[in-house]
């Protein structure tokens, strides 16, 4: 068997070596494609890692790559394409104006972008410009995630500063004497209502509701459960939207709060909190005027509030965001309101400031921040300035409402429709400034879900969840 055997053995060996060689080289080649291009040593500007270091006025280096972390997905997001196109336009403008500089877009899910910034800080992974959430600024301050932008801001003309620093989003990012983010717009919420459904129920669509009781009455009159038409749309699912857009405004309206900033404690068992939960509970279970699936474990904020409202299934849609004005327009519920024009007219879709004593809804905005580990912080600031050019900010689809005060004085925003939005924004409130806000939001939405799904005792359940959060995070 000798000769045949040897040749077969050799053949196999050769094949084996060749195959693994091809495979390995394939892998190596393939892995190298997505790996970031190595930066030449002279490319990195002097790292502005210490937040006190004054920045230089222009990008110090001749060129390089500045990373911009964003989250717009073409797949899940109805307006993803618009935002992606806008980003592409801004990036091109920046690259044209700053020869040698390239922008690399990083994509991180919107509800993970803040956590990723913190995780990567501990892991030593650098980013440059990043979108950030105002409700997490206390956490970012504690984790020291972002650079203080004050040294750069101070170089801006005073008028320019005042044009931007009025907004709730900006103010949320003013923490511990630092400015760690700049708001790109105003995300506020109103009570959107279907004027046709109001008229059909003999309600005056031009008379804004003022109290929570009125909201309930209207909801009772307009609910037609058999036709899947609901008096009041709410989202009480597994996300921080539950606390931000539904629980918090009601607690405020009952004259209380759910976090004691002085004692740094959650106060879920306060009077106002118990009343607020009871109010929501009654809407869902006693009056049955909200879609019954509003607290399902797989419920979706977009579907329940935006899609259901623009689909004509809701008489009132609570927590309707300024980022959805375009969606209303798309369904012809308004005319000339998106993009804003002076001729903006309300059709079927009306909005009113959140009824109740506080007249307040949660108001924030996507901020832009520069990561602590950024190696190109000056270039990142340059990119930020390009983004904040009035003409760019005006066309940012996800701005919600303009971040620049000057834009509000332009004729486009003079309509009654936009006056209501501005009123809502002015009344807007932020989330409590605890570094453990995500944990608090999850704890509260879990409490809400437990109460709604098990119909359990409200004060008792709130106490259990309050203890859970306080035992770990109070006083921090």
């Amino acid at each position: 068997m000798g000769k045949v055997k040897v040749s077969r053995r050799q053949f196999l060996q050769t094949m084996g070596v060749a195959a693994s060689g091809v495979a390995v080289s394939g892998i190596l080649a393939a892995c190298q494609v997505p790996a970031p291009p190595p930066q030449a040593a002279n490319v990195t500007s002097a790292p502005t890692q210490e937040s006190t270091t004054a920045p230089t006025s222009a990008p110090a280096a001749a060129g390089g790559t500045v990373k911009w972390a964003e989250f717009y997905s073409l797949l899940t997001d109805a307006s993803g394409k618009l935002n992606q196109d806008w980003i592409a336009g801004v990036v091109k403008q920046f690259e044209d104006e700053n020869a040698g500089w390239k922008v690399e877009r990083e994509a991180i899910k919107w509800d993970q972008i803040d956590q990723k910034a913190i995780l990567d800080l501990t892991a030593g992974v650098d980013h440059d410009l990043m979108f950030s959430s105002p409700q997490l600024m206390a956490k970012h301050l504690k984790a020291d995630t972002y650079l203080d932008l004050t040294p750069w801001i101070e170089k801006m003309p005073k008028a320019e500063q005042d044009d931007l620093n009025w907004s709730p989003g900006w103010k949320s990012a003013t923490v511990g004497g630092k400015q760690i983010g700049i708001a790109t717009g105003v995300h506020t919420r109103t009570l959107a209502y279907n004027r046709d459904i109001f008229k059909a129920a003999d309600l005056d669509p031009d008379k804004p509701l003022t109290t929570l009781d009125e909201m309930v009455e209207v909801a009772k009159k307009t609910t037609k459960a058999d036709q899947d038409i609901w008096g009041l749309g709410m989202f009480l699912g597994n996300s921080r939207a539950t606390i931000e857009l539904y629980y918090a405004p009601i607690v405020w309206s009952f004259g209380g709060d759910f976090y004691d900033s002085a004692a740094q404690k959650a106060t879920l068992t306060g009077d106002a909190s118990i009343k607020a939960v009871q109010w929501i509970y009654d809407l869902v279970h006693t009056h049955q005027v909200t879609p019954p699936y509003s607290f399902a474990s797989d419920a979706d904020y977009n579907n329940l509030i935006m899609t259901a409202f623009t689909g004509g299934k809701l008489a009132q849609s609570m927590g309707y965001g300024s980022y959805w004005i375009g969606a209303m327009q798309e369904k012809n519920m308004t005319t000339g309101c998106f993009p804003a024009t002076a001729e903006c007219k309300v059709g079927t879709g009306g909005v009113m400031v959140q009824p109740g004593a506080a007249r307040a809804q949660f108001t924030n905005a996507w901020c832009l921040s520069i990561h602590k580990l950024s190696k190109n912080s000056d270039a990142a600031w340059k990119l930020l300035q390009t983004i904040f050019k009035p003409e760019n900010l005006r066309t940012y689809p996800d701005a919600g409402l303009p971040a620049r005060l000057s834009a509000w004085e332009s004729p486009e925003y003079s309509s009654d429709f936009y006056k209501i939005w501005l009123d809502a924004a002015k009344n807007g409130r932020p989330m409590p400034p605890t570094p453990y806000y995500p944990e608090l939001a999850d704890t509260m939405s879990a409490a809400m879900q437990e109460i709604l799904s098990k119909k359990s005792d409200i004060p008792g359940t709130l106490k259990k969840f309050e203890d859970e959060w306080n035992s770990k995070y109070s006083g921090q």
């Binding site: 495979a23 892995c31 994509a107 892991a123 992974v125």
Partner: protein, 266 residues
């Protein structure tokens, strides 16, 4: 079999077929119709969700998944082969510790991810596909080694001994006799590794932050609970994610099944 038993058996088969096929049919149907169309058999099909998927850069995710699956196999197979051969063919002090290989795959990977992140960072491969391949290899190795050991044990030792007497060294015996004879087993190990690597979500999630490095399941989980339930788009992604493991499974199922049985019973 009596008639009633026949009926009973076929009813059972149909029932199980229904619960297996229906979710996949509905996913395929949803991916091919406009959102909001709920007809059981849609009248008009559209490829819009697939267009959207690929316009959204899903091709990159597929490419990443392929690189990671292939990379995991490339590193896992030779190491598992060497070790499996050693365990099957040699007696040496300390061999009884190899039983650890049976227990290791039963431990939760998710528990050690956090220390591993710091590790990957230390190695300078955090946020690259290498870290995902490395983690995939680490967690595939124990089971694969054990499976290969099983296949080697099932090859009569006499053939190799004859070769050894002919003057071959053990390494030559491995390459010229054991590997060809164990080829079906190796294929099944490869398919198993490939499918597990393709389906893995955790490693990509834990070790990479960039969208252009995400694998298919990570991108898919991103669709869920992101903004709105674009069921058409999500299911188009699901259909694309299903295809490679399904095709590999259908082609190699005989070896695959053999491998699983050998790995878990020996």
């Amino acid at each position: 079999m009596t008639r009633t038993r026949w009926m009973f058996a076929w009813f059972g088969v149909l029932f199980i077929l229904l619960i297996i096929v229906f979710p996949m049919y509905w996913g395929l149907r949803t991916s091919l119709t406009e959102n909001g169309v709920l007809d059981f058999v849609p009248g008009r099909l559209t490829l819009m969700h697939y267009d959207g998927l690929f316009a959204g850069g899903f091709l990159t995710n597929i490419q990443n998944s392929l690189i990671i699956s292939m990379g995991t196999i490339t590193f896992t197979l030779p190491i598992a082969l060497m070790s499996g051969y050693a365990l099957a063919r040699f007696d040496f002090p300390g061999k009884r510790f190899s039983a650890v290989l049976l227990v290791l795959p039963l431990l939760p990977a998710i528990a050690v991810l956090v220390p591993l992140i710091l590790y990957m960072r230390g190695l300078g491969i955090y946020n690259t596909l290498y870290s995902v391949i490395l983690a995939g290899t680490v967690f595939a190795l124990p089971y694969c080694t054990w499976m290969i050991r099983g296949f080697m044990l099932s090859i009569p030792r006499e053939i190799e001994e004859a070769a050894l007497i002919d003057g071959c060294g053990p390494i030559k015996a491995l390459f010229s006799i054991a590997i060809p004879l164990a080829a079906p087993g190796l294929i099944s190990v490869a398919i198993f590794t490939l499918i597990s690597a393709w389906n893995n979500y955790l490693f990509s999630f834990a070790f990479t932050t960039k969208r252009e490095l995400q694998v298919v399941p990570a991108a898919l989980l991103g669709f869920i609970t992101a903004w709105g339930n674009n069921y058409g788009g999500m299911n188009a992604g699901a259909v694309v994610a299903i295809l490679p493991p399904l095709i590999f499974f259908l082609i190699f199922q005989k070896w695959f099944i053999q491998g699983i049985l050998a790995g878990s019973s020996k």
